[in-house]
Symmetry: C2
Amino acid sequence: MGGDNAPEVVIEGIVLARDKLPQVDYLLYGNEQILKPLLDKHGTARKVCEIRHTDDVVSNDEKPGIALRSGRNSSMRLAINAVGQGEAAGVVSAGNTGALMAMAKFVLKTLPGIDRPAIASFFPTMRGESLMLDLGANVVCNSDNLVQFAVMGEVFARNVFHIKQPSIGILNIGSEELKGHDSVKQTFNILQNIDLPIRFHGFVEGDDIAKGTVDVIVTDGFTGNIALKTAEGTARMFGSFLKDALHSTPISMAGGLLAKPALNKLRMRLDPSRYNGAMFLGLNGICVKSHGGTDALGFSNALGVAAELVNDGLNDVIKEDLSHLDTEEPGANKTS
Amino acid sequence: MGGDNAPEVVIEGIVLARDKLPQVDYLLYGNEQILKPLLDKHGTARKVCEIRHTDDVVSNDEKPGIALRSGRNSSMRLAINAVGQGEAAGVVSAGNTGALMAMAKFVLKTLPGIDRPAIASFFPTMRGESLMLDLGANVVCNSDNLVQFAVMGEVFARNVFHIKQPSIGILNIGSEELKGHDSVKQTFNILQNIDLPIRFHGFVEGDDIAKGTVDVIVTDGFTGNIALKTAEGTARMFGSFLKDALHSTPISMAGGLLAKPALNKLRMRLDPSRYNGAMFLGLNGICVKSHGGTDALGFSNALGVAAELVNDGLNDVIKEDLSHLDTEEPGANKTS
């Protein structure tokens, strides 16, 4: 029931995902009176969906703590419970991010060795795509948190991107070891000496995100969220300026028409719905957050991300890797 | 002598700036054997330049502390000294940013009421342009620092953008009061109750930078630097993808040719050299940092920025405004 266009995009997203995810069945938590007519309209979805009725929803502006206490019968909470109880293999929601994280953490708990889950997402880059985490779950991170993000990101890139030895970078304001604040410097030291086969690149800067300098970019949730939204805003501005330019004269309009198929491909390449589906990594269960304003295609991509995380057994690999990690590494500041 | 293409771009920048800045004369600090032949080549520059010879230069990878101690006869230091001694009205350099800041702070000192200077620069936005600070001088900032940045940015926007009542926003990961870390929340509280006629908008997010939601964006140097470079990297990626798209088929190439004048205008609109010239605000003297990799046009813009700051008497207005500001405002954490 969450997001700007729910539950329509959810159902339409399921329809679009049928071909790519023929093996997936869905439990739909929400208002049956709204959901049923939509399912009746979409026969392909009806066959694979089971409605679990509840009247209660978490609103978009609900504070996470309040949602956690008073939303025990909300569609969001019941969907997460289904994962906790083993009835569902994963949960996807386009609803309130903070509430989803708070509830998922409470119900599913974190993986052993993880103090805090992180929000991770794909970024389009000049080389293909990269993973960045955290994108907003943790405003302040110590070096332990950042090291755990690095390990989770590495496992993710290895298993989902299928990169044999993904490279890891820490987002900083310079590539030299001396720059930045204490927690990034400590993380640098720990990752340089870590007892895992991690390909640690060192520090990367803001422009390295789009360059695709590394496969996984590790940062705190404050910086990551601002980098993500700055990139989105810049791309949107560029797109709007491009449109203005192509509409500025009759000749440029003709040029724009000729180039339209190519420009559409460009739009596709940068389409946010292609990159929809932020993963909550570090939870003992698969939880994927779709953008609230996404369309059906975007929602189907978020479903695909969740299915892939389940199929790849991502959490088992993270658990395995973390069990080798000595969290009492010298230099780590234990203040969780 | 600083920057990737010095001193050629410096001299060529002076030539380009002649029309816009007919009243400006230049003291050129650096190697006379290199500078003189260049001036001889550019008659228009020769008339307004005086060479002050020194062999010593600060290299690009010199650590600020070392540059400060051992660079007493460097071209950078002597140019700053000229401002300190009142011989020059301002200094412009394309050299090592950290060294320039350290030396300028040491020689010029900060304005009364300013604990730390900030690096500020223009950003292109959908509405025109905005100012953002700090972009990297201060990795960690307390609320006092951020409030001072807000006051300096406001004065700047009023005097240089000629906006009667510029709006001020604090960069954060959400627009609600509850989000973010302590120093942004404290800054929010102080700016909401400040005894100055500041039009305080509240929190802004990363995508508000390109939207142009506010005239002045206040942030710490870590976040600001990463936002700046993420935006630059995204714009470059978009440009490169656009080029790829327009070269993908013969028809799209024809379209690109027709649209070329319009696309060139777009390129101009986002050209980093148009936005070249980061200001060190809060120093008791005008100091402008040009991008190290800039071209002559970019350097001439940096010269224009410095001349404008001098002409507008920016520092006098900042001093005046700060004298009205009660720095013992409740809620401010004094830990400078």
